[in-house]
């Protein structure tokens, strides 16, 4: 029985029409009010932006030696890209033309997911482009793949699919950027599958323009002994929501989710993460931090589900938040659902101001109050960035993050 791609798309559209956007009455969306999207973009907010030309070089990550796959307003820009030879990298739009069957599988993979929202359904119905990558078994991409999505406002639905074969390795940098005053929506779904022993390091850098809205979904399915590492950084956008789902489906799989929000003014940043321990001997690590200034609002919801059979689970989660102003706000909630006794699960949440003892220590060494505060804020956030293996990405984010905060007199000196 064969279904056409159009049928899959139509079904997704019907699902979207039936569900609409989630509302704040929905427990998972309690703190993130998507009505702002239609308020900002109008009733037809889902309509894709027109094609345009943007100089992607302006968004380069300094000193990064990588392949580049560049999308402008949701469309693959082959000219600006520099793709590796020998592995399968194609744009979704290309795939729809050349291998529609493969695309069907890719779309169907999410369209019916009970966990996903109307936004994901809209994505399945409307996704125009995205990165489709296949790394064959026992191979490794010799350089990271920088997947850059730039826009000049307006809406784009991006659908990416990353398949890492047995014992294959891949490092990707998904990077969302813009530099404009318009409001639009970036609606991105990235599905990652790791075969046995596969490894993927995933940088997800959200540096959208100030009035852009961003909705992201990362869904990772992991086979035996595979390892997934996410470094999620939230700096840009007015309203940003990302769902990260990691399914540890076979024994010995591990995932590490590191997240940093640096938000100011009226920015709203929300991460909902869901780690499913579905098999024995899996390991998960999750460390999220936020630095919130002005009237920024952060939301962190970290769900960890340990299934009945997932014995010898080793899981640790931490979430620490630094509020730099009285008006900044964080809603944080660890949610542990554990269905067997043979597990190790540690978790902890802190919300606070800077440590008084550390402040005094610095001041007693001659550092002014203002500079001491900046140093400690930097250090707090940088502990998450220090987990990044890529020095160019870390430096790039350090500079971008701290450009948002009260300026450090000598940031370069602080960099370890």
């Amino acid at each position: 029985m064969s279904v056409s791609l159009q049928t899959v798309r139509d079904q997704a559209w019907l699902a979207f029409e039936a569900r609409g956007l989630p509302t704040t009455r929905d427990e998972d969306w309690k703190y993130t009010d998507l009505s702002r999207i239609s308020a900002l973009l109008g009733e037809q907010w889902w309509q894709a932006a027109a094609a345009t030309e943007i100089d992607a070089a302006a968004f380069a990550i300094p000193n990064l030696d990588a392949y580049h796959m560049i999308f402008v307003n949701g469309r693959f820009d082959a000219e600006a890209s520099d793709l590796p030879a020998g592995i399968t990298v194609s744009s979704l739009a290309g795939l729809i033309q050349d291998e529609p069957d493969k695309t069907i599988e890719l779309m169907a993979y999410h369209a019916d997911a009970a966990l996903s929202s109307g936004l994901t359904a809209a994505n399945s119905a409307l996704a125009s482009d995205g990165a489709c990558i296949c790394i064959a078994a026992n191979t490794r991409l010799d350089k990271p793949l920088h997947i850059l999505h730039v826009n000049d406002g307006g809406t784009s639905h991006l659908r990416s699919s990353i398949e890492v074969g047995q014992h294959a390795e891949l490092e990707i940098i998904e990077h969302f950027a813009g530099n404009h005053d318009a409001s639009g929506l970036t609606n991105s779904v990235t599905a990652i599958r790791l075969a046995a022993g596969g490894r993927c390091t995933h940088y997800r850098l959200q540096l959208e323009a100030v009035k852009q809205c961003h909705n992201g979904r990362v869904e990772v399915k992991q086979s035996r002994d595979s390892a997934y590492v996410l470094h999620a950084v939230e700096l840009g956008a007015l309203l940003s929501r990302t769902d990260v789902i990691s399914k540890l489906d076979e024994q010995g799989a591990s995932c590490e989710l590191n997240g940093l929000f640096v938000a100011s003014n009226r920015q709203h940043v929300d991460h909902h993460t869901r780690i499913e321990h579905n098999a024995p001997h899996c390991v998960s690590r999750e460390h999220y931090r936020s630095v919130l200034d002005g009237r920024a609002h952060g939301v962190f919801n970290g769900k960890i589900i340990v299934g009945k059979g997932a014995v010898k689970t080793d899981s640790a989660q931490s979430n620490a938040n630094l509020l730099l102003s009285d008006k900044a706000e964080i809603d944080t909630k660890p949610e542990l659902e554990i269905y067997n006794d043979d597990v190790k699960c540690a978790h902890g949440v802190t919300i606070g101001q800077l440590d008084k003892n550390q402040l005094f220590y610095l001041k007693s060494r001659g550092i002014s109050e203002e500079e001491a505060k900046q140093m400690l804020t930097f250090a707090f956030a940088d502990e998450i960035l220090a987990k990044m293996g890529s020095q160019p990405v870390r430096r790039f984010i350090e500079r971008a993050a701290f450009a948002k905060l009260p300026i450090i007199t000598d940031l370069e000196g602080m960099l370890v």
Partner: protein, 250 residues
């Protein structure tokens, strides 16, 4: 150097210092001894400017200025240094960066030109050698993952770099093995000069075998109950503290 007059201080309404009188001249080394909880750290912290203490009476004059009006960083620029009893860990703040920022803030305050990276590194290397601190410590986070002894040595290292006029060592000797004690003492003796003063808060007489104090004070119940020479320390080690209280009461 510093003159403390009838200093009374409290924490959360509880009186801790109850009339401290203490004068330390330039070039002098004083030891302050006393049982746990007698107010030694409180006194050191108040001199360094930690908040949370209320000075209810008395004054501290440092180099002719009212010390209590200065911020902790101003005190540091004016030459006060506290080696903490329990140094905090500050992950992510590089040890060397902290010192460079501190030294240059002080130089700026003094109207001197800031040191450049190379000049500074030279000083740091030299001082690290003095306290036998491995170079690798320089680029680590402040006290991050340091052992107890390493933290204390790091305090002395910082002292050596910052070259204070008045160094307060709050139980820097506690918990040190003999090698570390010798290194710490070495750092302090190196600093000694006719225009620098040192206050050592200690429990044990043994530190005073390495660093000869000019004066020894006994701080008990928030007051200095007795003052003497080096022999007083020996006597305290032998006889404990109770006799001092009895003698003072008599």
């Amino acid at each position: 150097m510093i003159e403390i007059k009838d200093l009374h201080a409290s924490v959360d309404g509880k009186a801790i210092l109850k009339g401290i009188n203490l004068t330390i001249g330039a070039g002098e080394v004083h030891a302050i001894m006393g049982p746990n909880g007698s107010g030694k750290s409180t006194l050191s912290n108040i001199i360094a400017g930690r908040d949370g203490y209320t000075v209810t009476k008395g004054s501290i004059t440092y180099k002719g200025k009212n010390l209590l009006e200065m911020s902790p960083e101003q005190r540091s620029w004016e030459g006060i240094f506290l080696a903490f009893q329990y140094p905090v860990e500050i992950p992510g703040v590089n040890n060397t960066y902290l010192l460079k920022a501190g030294v240059n803030a002080k130089r700026k305050h003094q109207g001197l030109q800031e040191l450049d990276a190379i000049e500074f590194l030279q000083i740091v290397r030299e001082k690290a050698k003095l306290v036998e601190l491995d170079q690798s410590f320089l680029s680590r986070g402040v006290n991050e993952g340091f052992s107890g002894g390493e933290k204390k040595r790091n305090e002395i290292f910082q002292m050596a770099v910052l070259e204070p006029s008045l160094a307060l060592l709050d139980e820097t000797d506690s918990g040190l093995d003999i090698d570390a004690l010798r290194i710490v003492a070495n750092g302090v003796n190196h600093l000694r000069s006719k225009d620098r003063s040192v206050v050592m808060v200690t429990h044990y007489q043994r530190l005073l075998d390495y660093i000869q104090p000019d004066v020894v004070h006994v701080l008990m119940d928030g007051k200095i109950l007795k003052t003497g020479g080096k022999d007083l320390a020996l006597e305290l080690e032998e006889r404990g503290y109770d006799w001092v209280r009895q003698e003072a009461a008599a």
